[in-house]
Symmetry: D2
Subunit: 307 residues, 4 copies
Amino acid sequence: MSVHRFEPRVYHTSIGTHAPVLTIASGSTVITTTVDARGMDATGKQVTERGNPQTGPFFVEGAEPGDMLSVTFDRLRPNRKFGWSASAIAPNVLEPETVKQAPDEAPARWEIDQEAGTATLVEPRTALGRLTLPLRPMVGCFGVAPPRGQAISTATSSTHGGNMDYRGFVEGVTVHFPVFVPGALFHVGDGHALQGDGEIVGTGIEISFDIQFTVRLVKGKALQWPRAESADEIMTVGNARPLDQCVQHATTEMVRWLQEDYGLDARGAHLLLGQCVRYELGNMYDPAYTMVCKVSKSLLAGLEAGR
Amino acid sequence: MSVHRFEPRVYHTSIGTHAPVLTIASGSTVITTTVDARGMDATGKQVTERGNPQTGPFFVEGAEPGDMLSVTFDRLRPNRKFGWSASAIAPNVLEPETVKQAPDEAPARWEIDQEAGTATLVEPRTALGRLTLPLRPMVGCFGVAPPRGQAISTATSSTHGGNMDYRGFVEGVTVHFPVFVPGALFHVGDGHALQGDGEIVGTGIEISFDIQFTVRLVKGKALQWPRAESADEIMTVGNARPLDQCVQHATTEMVRWLQEDYGLDARGAHLLLGQCVRYELGNMYDPAYTMVCKVSKSLLAGLEAGR
Amino acid sequence: MSVHRFEPRVYHTSIGTHAPVLTIASGSTVITTTVDARGMDATGKQVTERGNPQTGPFFVEGAEPGDMLSVTFDRLRPNRKFGWSASAIAPNVLEPETVKQAPDEAPARWEIDQEAGTATLVEPRTALGRLTLPLRPMVGCFGVAPPRGQAISTATSSTHGGNMDYRGFVEGVTVHFPVFVPGALFHVGDGHALQGDGEIVGTGIEISFDIQFTVRLVKGKALQWPRAESADEIMTVGNARPLDQCVQHATTEMVRWLQEDYGLDARGAHLLLGQCVRYELGNMYDPAYTMVCKVSKSLLAGLEAGR
Amino acid sequence: MSVHRFEPRVYHTSIGTHAPVLTIASGSTVITTTVDARGMDATGKQVTERGNPQTGPFFVEGAEPGDMLSVTFDRLRPNRKFGWSASAIAPNVLEPETVKQAPDEAPARWEIDQEAGTATLVEPRTALGRLTLPLRPMVGCFGVAPPRGQAISTATSSTHGGNMDYRGFVEGVTVHFPVFVPGALFHVGDGHALQGDGEIVGTGIEISFDIQFTVRLVKGKALQWPRAESADEIMTVGNARPLDQCVQHATTEMVRWLQEDYGLDARGAHLLLGQCVRYELGNMYDPAYTMVCKVSKSLLAGLEAGR
């Protein structure tokens, strides 16, 4: 159970079978940093090209296709005093016939106060004034190398994770990935100080991060789509277009999970989801959108008791 | 500000310019009942054909096209001791290639305990056992007569409301509709003891209701899509397919609302939504799906203060 | 087999259970006229409100729910010397991020020369000059009354037909409809001198028509979606959003048709369509889009011989 | 203007920046072979893993990002006596509620007669008998290396081409690609003896090919999406999901092309497409679907004359 401090020197704007930057054992913790979506580091200096540059990949010893890699985000902390965002809702999120009336894109700047735990709008000036919002740091883009020799742009997402831009990927959450290549090759980047549902302006409040995560390998457990757990909920993630298809992937993966690990037959899983499921919108901006399917752990505990 | 007690004798499975059952003034309260989605009343007797039969329509004096009708759900209470639901997730919510493995539809029966505030699964028997869930009564289908001489099936929804099947339409919520025809012609039905997001099995826990609502007419206020308010949030509703289009309608309507009533210019509205918007999935089962766009009233209050 | 000459005095902008204008027997032919999409007649005078006003409905004696109504377009002829169209591609047909660069809508005017069989662009003036195109007259919106007491706007389409805007609905084609209400209640309107695939500017070249059609009732033959036949092809029609769903409806209806009437089992129908099917895009503008699934009659004849 | 005979020894199931197998100059012709979708060569032997294995990549001298690579298919010929196909329509092409009634997938075998120019169904046995269809050889999957260090699975398609499965990519057609990486890196594979629209069973009649193509480099001409030309038509290709988005990409690219190369302003391009555009469905099976937008060259010639 070792702890690795890793300082990145190279970044990737695709997630694929790139040369590993570090080899770690299951159970290991990594303490590192990520640059923001434009490649700017903690000092505000641009150190790599823009486009959600990723720290990594990290090679997990013993990981093979057909295994599951679990990554717990132990610590996710913005590490500088400003973030930036876009300020215009993306045209694909508006009624097409109203797009011409929408404002053009212009950058917005936010002050980040770590102690107060807030982000404050500095510019542009609008009737919002110095809108102040609570921080809720999350990572937008992370995942494992996809199968088939692919390297997939960090603009998008799929079964391997990627640019899911879901505001629920916060400190304390564990994300489970299918392993497609030896070593799994975990990549991580694109921190947001906070973000709305859907990432509808195309950004959260983008910022560099100090990050600590722990990996755990589960042999011989095959997933179809990413899964995740918070203290209160289990989650499955569907990445595709349109949103309907995201819901199909996430729901089907949840049915599988309930059957595999929670002792339900198909009927029971369907019945439970029918009256109790919750969905959250990750992003509706990237080439693949993201919907998350959630079930409260309290229901699953109750289920055990009810049997 | 009168209170009307109304006992329905006729029901409609389309929302349209049907003969009014009662004429009421703005500010009036109506106490009435609704049958369940199959036309069964409080005694469990089928009194009309199935398909979300509606109580009403109620003619609101003075309502003209271009006005807004606000309906507050003062009281929504299941009025019998059992409800029913479907038990298989609809094929359109599953990955197409897994549909053949899904269970066939079979009805489920739930005991409703008003005092305990719970619904308990009675059949079918699964590993869920007697799953017990808290009641959260909501109405699935309600709205006003659409324009252009249309009568629209209560299976679906559009700008006039209809079968939105959103679990947030609970007691205490006010829903605002565009008025398309003289008198607005409000219809209501399809009570659910509770429901999951997406209504993915095609039903909530379906049950007859005692219902009390109050109408208020606002002259000369034109909406494009339904809006709603709870104690904590303002909401806009998009009804269409696919879900992407629902999000477009709901988001665009929210931008309009923020500009009309909350003193924001377009830039401010876009910036606020970008980092603060929330979405919830109404239904992904009916011919038109439903997505709800939400903003916390605390943000809007803060906005006033921040200026 | 009587022939009825009918001069319309009333028009409808929804398709529903309106008062019949004429009762006809199966086998009857009707000679009548339609106004254009804006309600302008052969003289160019606006005689009714805009929005694809329909001539009819025609009550077909003996038609009952569960029957099939076949309508053959014997003659479809523009009856005046000018038509009009829109000139800007609808925003929903363009990449969302390019919508702001698109031209604003401005009306275009076309001269119609019946003898030459051409439409010539008169205005606006562009590098197209006096673009001259061959006429291919077709009807955009027609259908039968939908079930459940509905009246559906002539802006859209569904299982009952409606505003399908498919350029293949030309003279000589027979369209088959499911009957949902007694008398079927056939409506027709919205003639186009010609139209591109997808009706992507939102109009064809819109014009009033002289029209002749013949109805035939087939008892006890239930369709799910409209079907059609030309001299060379059989066709099924799916009306929905998004286009994917249109394809699903049209393809599934074609599988049913091949099994019901052409002696194929499911495997044979799937195999045939897999390598031989053709699709055409009706409209991608209206609230419901339209895709048409086609099979060559020569393949079906060959099929008989091949057995 | 040299001619290269190339015998492949390695194949790729992703399109990316793989090691070039041959470096060629603009104007060069390559004569080579492709294996079928399962990796079987002209002798029927499986020589590489399944999944649309690609011959290449071919490095075109002088090609740089921002250029256009034109590839003409001089000769596309099946080179063995049998092909295979799937026999069940994919679940995503059927109404979801009918999927359970569809036949399960079972392989079909076809005899290919090069001299007669036909494919004849050998098995399975259905009422289709020995269905005989005319050959129309086309390539399903081909393209250039994508940007950003990506390698994209040959199961799917995007701006770089890929698995478009469009039956119009036949002998004589020229396809134009945006160049994203030095050398362009052209890949080609996945020949079909013939295919229906939509590739709705997930395959054409899959077979190995003798193939001859000629490349031409156009410096400094940037495309957003693939374009193509046959003797009679110009075409643009949109690859995405859902089909609506494919239409958006293809249509927008066609507007750009008409403005860049055919002397039209935006208004003229929109007007022309509005009444004259044609669409064809490439595939509705792969992760990204394909729609093709077409304009007749006769219209464009007429356009020159009309000015």
